[in-house]
């Protein structure tokens, strides 16, 4: 299966008249499902707009009678994440600091690997690539502690470079596969011609392949940005106290508070944390689906 095959929206199923029992059944099922999927989003938004007195009434579905964005302000700038009370904004900027270099580095290495594997055969490279792909399926727990030790020896543990490096390492299998499949689908005459014209390995990569890779780079960016943004485990272990990503900060806000839980603040913080991947999902549409399809066929 090719990573770049678009999901075809061909719809020539037999057209039927409306209001047959089957049609009604289909719509009923789809509407019920839509409600099930939308319910948590609705509850999140409604709760975040309520003051605590209203939340204590236990009417989780009721609209707020006096909507307020106070909880959002607290979630952003003064909620407590453990000892510090500077809100989720710290996590937001940390996540940004992690995502940008991690995504760029992992996509660059993925493109380079994919290009080298697709056009410049090396006998040993295939074996390494196979191991890399198999490695993508192994639970992170198997690698965690040795990596912690290794990074400590390098003096990198609990730093920004550490978490960037770890994301690059664990992003490598899918990124490499993605680009390798893409480059393998391009006509090989292109590279052959470039070689005859005297183009070297790097020149062909930077001047021919990279400019031709825009569609697959978009897919890669979507996959990596959402994936790294949503990561919890790696950020928790490798980022260090100073660089905890937004997901870890969010969990800290909600699960370490003492006293009364501020559900409105919690929900506002949850929406804020999810807003980046949701935004990417909504604006990228089909590209996102292409990305998960490409990620799904790995191996």
């Amino acid at each position: 299966m090719n990573a770049t095959t678009p999901v075809k929206v061909r719809n020539q199923r037999p057209a039927k008249s409306w209001f047959t029992p089957a049609r009604i059944g289909i719509y009923a099922f789809l509407l019920m499902s839509a409600l099930f999927f939308l319910l948590p989003l609705y509850v999140m938004v409604v709760t975040s707009l309520k003051p605590m007195e209203e939340i204590r009434l236990g009417q989780i579905f009721a609209l707020p009678s006096r909507p307020t964005i106070e909880a959002w302000a607290i979630a952003w700038s003064s909620a407590c994440t453990g000892l510090e009370c500077t809100g989720i904004q710290v996590g937001f900027w940390n996540s940004l600091k992690i995502v940008v270099p991690s995504a760029m580095l992992s996509i660059f290495i993925g493109a380079l690997n994919g290009y080298a594997l697709a056009y410049w055969r090396r006998p040993w490279a295939g074996v390494f690539f196979a191991i890399l792909l198999l490695g993508a399926f192994i639970p992170y727990q198997v690698h965690l502690y040795p990596l912690v030790r290794g990074l400590s020896m390098l003096g990198l543990f609990s730093t920004l470079p550490a978490i960037v490096l770890v994301h690059t390492i664990f992003g490598m299998p899918v990124m490499t596969l993605l680009f390798r499949n893409y480059y393998a689908s391009l006509p090989e005459e292109l590279v052959k011609a470039a070689r005859i014209d005297g183009g070297g390995f790097w020149r062909i990569f930077f001047q021919l392949m990279i400019p031709m890779s825009t569609p697959i780079i978009i897919v890669a960016v979507i996959m990596q940005v959402t994936g790294i943004w949503n990561d919890f485990l790696l950020g928790l272990v490798f980022a260090g106290r100073e660089n905890l990503p937004m997901t870890v900060q969010l969990n800290n806000i909600i699960n370490t508070t003492t006293g009364e839980r501020l559900y409105n603040v919690n929900m506002a913080a949850t929406i804020l944390t999810s807003s980046v991947p949701l935004f990417i999902y909504l604006i990228s549409g089909r590209w996102f689906v292409r990305g998960i399809a490409a990620g799904a066929v790995k191996g």
Partner: protein, 304 residues
Amino acid sequence: MATPPKPPPRRGKRQNWAVNFALLPMAVTVLLCYLGTVLWSIVVSLTSSKTFPNTNFVGLAQYEKLFTTDRWWLSLHNMALFGVIFVIACLALGFFLAVFIDQKVRGEGILRTIFLYPYAMSFVATGLVWQWMLNPGLGLQEAVRQLGFPNFEFDWIISQDKVMYAIALAAVWQSAGLVMALLLAGLRGVDEEIWKAARIDGIPVWRVYMSIVLPMIAPSIATATVLLSLGVIKVFDVVVAMTGGGPGIASEVPAKFIMDYLFNRANIGLASAASVVLLLTVLALLLPWLYAKNRMEKNNNKGH
């Protein structure tokens, strides 16, 4: 995924060097971060390491200890229970969503967007939202009681017996859309001629789905199943966010067990043994699938 064999490129020494240099990060990653760490975990699992790794080899003692630890058995049991519910529910819901969306319905684009958006959210956020909805005092249970059903009970999240169902519910909500997207792509790949032929023969739609379409999209279903199963083995974030492993240790899962013993309970030997067991579980799941996939690809290539 198989690419046609290409003729070996003309090589210069300098080019060789450039390719080797470019692939160096991959080689280092594979050797150190994938193979090296696995080997390290295996070696440490055979030692008596506690807070720090040591080289006092004790054979399989850590594995014996692991499998006499109730908490580990509980986590395995939870993983199995969660896995069965999660995989079956995701496949069933995802399949029906894909089939029904494929019936030329109105608002298809909006429906697809709605079904898939949870997949863009992190498991942490998913866990926290459902923790809030399932809160017995303030969430769904209380809301339904106020509607006039004072005996309504929906307290899975605080019940030791049912907490894994609550976690499965949240995880299904997050991942069912993925199955829908994968299967929808599979359904759209089914040849239109098959539908025409079935219509001419007067075969009811559901029979066509059961007897013809389902076997045709079997590879998509297999892929979805493997992806979901791997998700089951990795499950961690959603448990931490939703219940923290509680009530008590009722929602303990292997991935969390390992994290606990690595970083809080300073028992690296035992944690490594547990992670090796997890690794073997993954391989047991993966290798048959890869084997089947490989064989199918080879057969397909022969056909052409």
